[in-house]
Symmetry: C2
Subunit: 341 residues, 2 copies
DNA sequence: GATTGGAATGTAACTGGTTACAAATTTTTG
DNA sequence: CAAAAATTTGTAACCAGTTACATTCCAATC
């Protein structure tokens, strides 16, 4: 069933049918009704390709996510989708599986499909990859920290440095001094910022940092477990551990339990992410609550501004979102400042 | 940059350029090379719409998921995507948010976009909705239990009844008798099957079931917490609880802890799903491990068989996948049969 | 009654490709 | 060397819409 058949059935030309669909005000009321009846009856849907060929627009945006099994990322996705849905756009959600090659493959595939805009979440892409997208005239927004330095593209991200500073500062405030950090190895920038925040908090108190207290780990539960074991084996064991993710904290806490070390009595913990489970493990985890959904919403709004405004300039925008420290049991309650652990 | 410009630059007709892209063997080697060079240099990508207009094929499948924040569903999605990727297809992942209207909206949107096939995961759609998809000539596969009885559509699902039977059977085997069940309220069929499995196991041992031991709950951690409180308040408190999801178990275990009831010493638990966290909470949760990824893979393979075979008949196929019981600490170790709790 | 203007509709060019068929060129064969 | 066959390339119709421009029709104005 195509427009010609509809036109024939209604006894009009294809132009009139097309007009009913695109500029209904320019068609006489009775003609319009007759055509709408035929359309209804014959269940006609305009061919997507023919339409696209004329408008060169898909009402679709592409969304690259590092890992769809990670609910934190999916919260961003949901924020983006909420906005897209409102705007009557559809979202192409792609699972990059933390692999640049997969990201590149998806980017090519999405450009081919003529999507109207790109949102890259915590991307591993290089500057030149993103250049390639922009050269096609497709607006791009970065959400979350990305691996490389990407020029002239707006970005929405969390103030990780500030959040880490606040987290470690909290540990210091309640009396801890020997504070270690376990940080995930990708993407680098984000973790560097977290370490910076950690260092800044220590430095501010004149606490000299110890290299063996700064442990890199694969960002998984297992990674946290392994890194924690290294900390356990130290002569001078830390009394508090800040981890760059909740997953790492879970693994690390698990390691403590396996070695008979009590949390938070012997080692305090502060995580990062506030994933659902952090409120359910024993002890409940003090952690940084990130505004993931909001990040998606803000990123999507920015993208649609770019799509609507066409040629206009948003390139150097950088939006920093603040996060809150969610205080629970894992960091103990030792409020007496001055007592040194 | 379109095919005409490429043709002009290479000094050939558009037909030859098109052939280089679609039937390269039919073009003379040196002409082909010249054209490929021009394509490379000018970064030409064939227009997706024009191409689609001819082939009427998008190499895209649509995937409806009830909730993208639930990693179990995302494992199915990943299984599907793995297969699709291999086949050089792209996947449209849609988040239905457990709402029929949203599902319907996505179905319309995807049909409009001329996707080549549909996979509905735990769908809420009615039979007539699916009829509508089939009438458009688009192959459909159901993955996981769906709400209504949908006729003449192949389905891949887990043998929930068998799995629940095995789970409760295990509790009975290690000596429990007062066994309650907390089940989530959607989608109904799946939970009915789980209850059936539970009942079957009890009946087989001649244990009379008590209505107050069968608790419905919203399938969330909070829902489990609330349902567990109802069980705690009973005169005759159950000694073991089987939950239709791990989330429910987490909430229920949390409730126990809050009321000073020890798990598994006073109440044993068996969950369902084996989500990542079930191995990390205290005590580690005994649970049913579902082959989610496999379900996706099998469903996708089935869909591609249908796409490739076109008119052929797969309609009445029903594939049942078996799951395993993952035994951990939450159900205790009381092996002496005969000791009645 | 002729002229003008506006609304409704139709004709045909255009979007950017694919491909059947025709034509030109090259290679093989008698 | 011509004829036949095979290879390579071009012409133009086609996919299913949109829309600029042309045309028709009818009422309002002079």
């Amino acid at each position: 069933m195509n427009i010609k058949e509809v036109a024939k059935k209604a006894g009009v030309s294809v132009a009139t049918v097309s007009r009913v669909l695109n500029h209904p005000e320019s068609v006489a009321p009775d003609t319009k009704q007759r055509i709408l009846d035929v359309i209804e009856e014959s269940e006609y849907t305009p061919n997507w390709f023919a339409r696209g060929l004329n408008f060169n627009k898909t009402d679709t945006i592409g969304l690259l996510i590092p890992n769809i099994l990670n609910p934190s990322y999916m919260e961003i996705a949901k924020g983006i989708e909420d906005v897209a849905h409102q705007k009557n756009y559809t979202t192409f959600l792609c699972n990059a599986e933390n692999a640049v090659e997969k990201e590149r493959r998806y980017v090519d595939s999405l450009i081919k499909r003529r999507i109207d805009g790109f949102i890259l979440v915590s991307s591993l892409l290089e500057n030149e990859d993103v250049e390639g997208i922009k050269k096609q005239g497709i607006p791009v927004v970065l959400v979350g920290e990305n691996k490389s330095d990407i020029k002239d593209v707006p970005i929405v991200r969390i103030d990780c440095e500030g959040a880490s500073y606040k987290a470690v500062r909290h540990l210091i405030n309640i009396g801890y001094k020997n504070i270690a950090v376990i940080y995930g190895s990708t993407p680098d920038r984000e973790n560097r910022r977290k370490i910076d925040g950690y260092r800044q908090a220590l430095a501010e108190e004149g606490i000299t940092e110890r290299e063996e207290y700064i442990q890199e780990a694969i960002n998984t539960i297992e990674g946290g477990y392994i890194a924690a074991k290294r900390l356990i084996d130290l002569k001078r064991r830390p009394r508090a551990i800040f981890t760059s993710s909740d997953l790492l904290a879970f693994g690390a806490i698990d390691a403590m339990k396996d070695h008979g070390i009590k949390v938070p009595e012997e080692v305090a913990f502060v995580g990062f992410d506030n994933i659902r489970m952090s409120n359910l493990i024993d002890p409940k985890l003090t952690t940084v609550e990130k505004p993931m959904h909001k990040m998606g919403v803000v990123g999507a709004r920015l993208l649609f501004d770019m799509i609507d405004a066409k040629g206009e300039e948003f390139t150097n925008r950088e939006i920093l979102l603040q996060s809150k420290l969610k205080i629970r049991k894992s960091c103990g309650h030792r409020e007496r400042i001055g007592e040194i652990f």
